[in-house]
């Protein structure tokens, strides 16, 4: 699923931003997206499963949610002119049809400030039946 997200972002017009294939690990305590402003990082998937329909069979029908986070940071003092467009385009990643058999697609965007950097985190949640 991370591959599909990366492929989608690769098709976008990113302006002054760049896409990294690396996961957003920390280097000396600092996440890479803080060390490298205007670089987009895609995290690895996280999974959570919960029962959707209980039955008398030995196995329930479950819904499994795959969560993928996308991070990037930019100088808060002089925000890139395409920031809003980029966020809108990244939010649309939840609807890409290369990720199939999903019955619920959600995305949320959260911003925080780290010193003079505006950190933007998109959390995409894809739920399917298992």
């Amino acid at each position: 699923m991370r591959t599909e997200i990366l492929d989608y972002i690769n098709t976008l017009s990113l302006g002054g931003f760049l896409l990294s294939q690396e996961i957003p690990f920390e280097d000396n305590g600092d996440p890479l997206y803080l060390k490298n402003l205007k670089k987009i990082y895609v995290g690895i998937p996280e999974y959570s499963t919960e029962p959707l329909i209980r039955t008398f069979s030995s196995q329930d029908i479950n819904s499994e949610t795959t969560t993928i986070r996308v991070f990037f940071a930019a100088d808060a003092k002089s925000l890139p002119t395409n920031y809003e467009t980029l966020v809108t385009d990244l939010k649309a990643a939840k609807d890409i049809d290369t990720i199939a058999n999903i019955y619920r697609r959600e995305v949320s965007v959260e911003t925080t400030f780290e010193a003079d950097a505006l950190v933007t985190q998109l959390e995409m949640r894809f739920t399917n039946i298992t």
């Binding site: 959707l52 329909i53 209980r54 039955t55 008398f56 069979s57 030995s58 196995q59 329930d60 029908i61 019955y103 039946i129």
Partner: protein, 172 residues
């Protein structure tokens, strides 16, 4: 009088006391033996209905009506999650002469196939039960109404076994 603890029947998913329902094609209304039955998977709930009709009359010597139970209308209703092979059968155009596996629930309904059923209530050895307890009978599959929605993207359907004749209660 000595106290006797209650013996509740508590089927649970995945337990040895799990509730099971099996269906097979019946040759006639007295055939409740199964040789090539299908086991119903994905049961969400099941209800055994045994509704006696009542004949009521009044007598001049009584201030209350008299009643007597007459014939019963029996049925078993349930809801289940649709399983492809179980619902459609292994042969989509199977006739009533096909096996239970070939016809599936949809075939039973479409062909008006006389079926027999065995519903296991309780596993032997649990609490005060000394043997498995079953309700058996013959009837027809009716009331299929598969449904799905965007919020619940799994097909579920009610199923009714319209029972012809009496239930047979058995212990093995």
């Amino acid at each position: 009088m000595a106290y006797t603890s209650p013996s509740y029947i508590s089927p649970g998913p995945g337990s040895s006391n799990q509730i099971t329902l099996s269906l097979d094609v019946a040759s006639d209304t007295s055939d409740i033996t199964q040789s090539a039955a299908i086991s119903i998977a994905g049961l969400q709930d099941i209800t055994v209905n045994a509704s006696n009709d009542v004949f009521t009359w009044s007598q001049l010597d009584s201030t209350a009506k008299k009643q007597v139970a007459t014939t019963a209308t029996n049925s078993i209703s349930m809801n289940l999650v649709v399983d492809d092979a179980l619902f459609f059968g292994t042969a989509l155009s199977a006739a009533a002469t096909g096996t239970a596996a070939e016809q599936g629930l949809m075939g039973f309904s479409r062909n008006k196939t006389l079926i027999n059923f065995i519903l296991k209530f309780v596993e032997g050895g649990s609490n005060q039960a000394t043997a498995d307890r079953y309700i058996k009978g013959v009837g027809y599959i009716t009331g299929l109404a598969p449904t799905v929605s965007a919020d619940s993207p799994v097909w579920v359907t009610p199923v009714t076994i319209t029972v012809s004749g009496e239930y047979t209660v058995a212990a093995t």
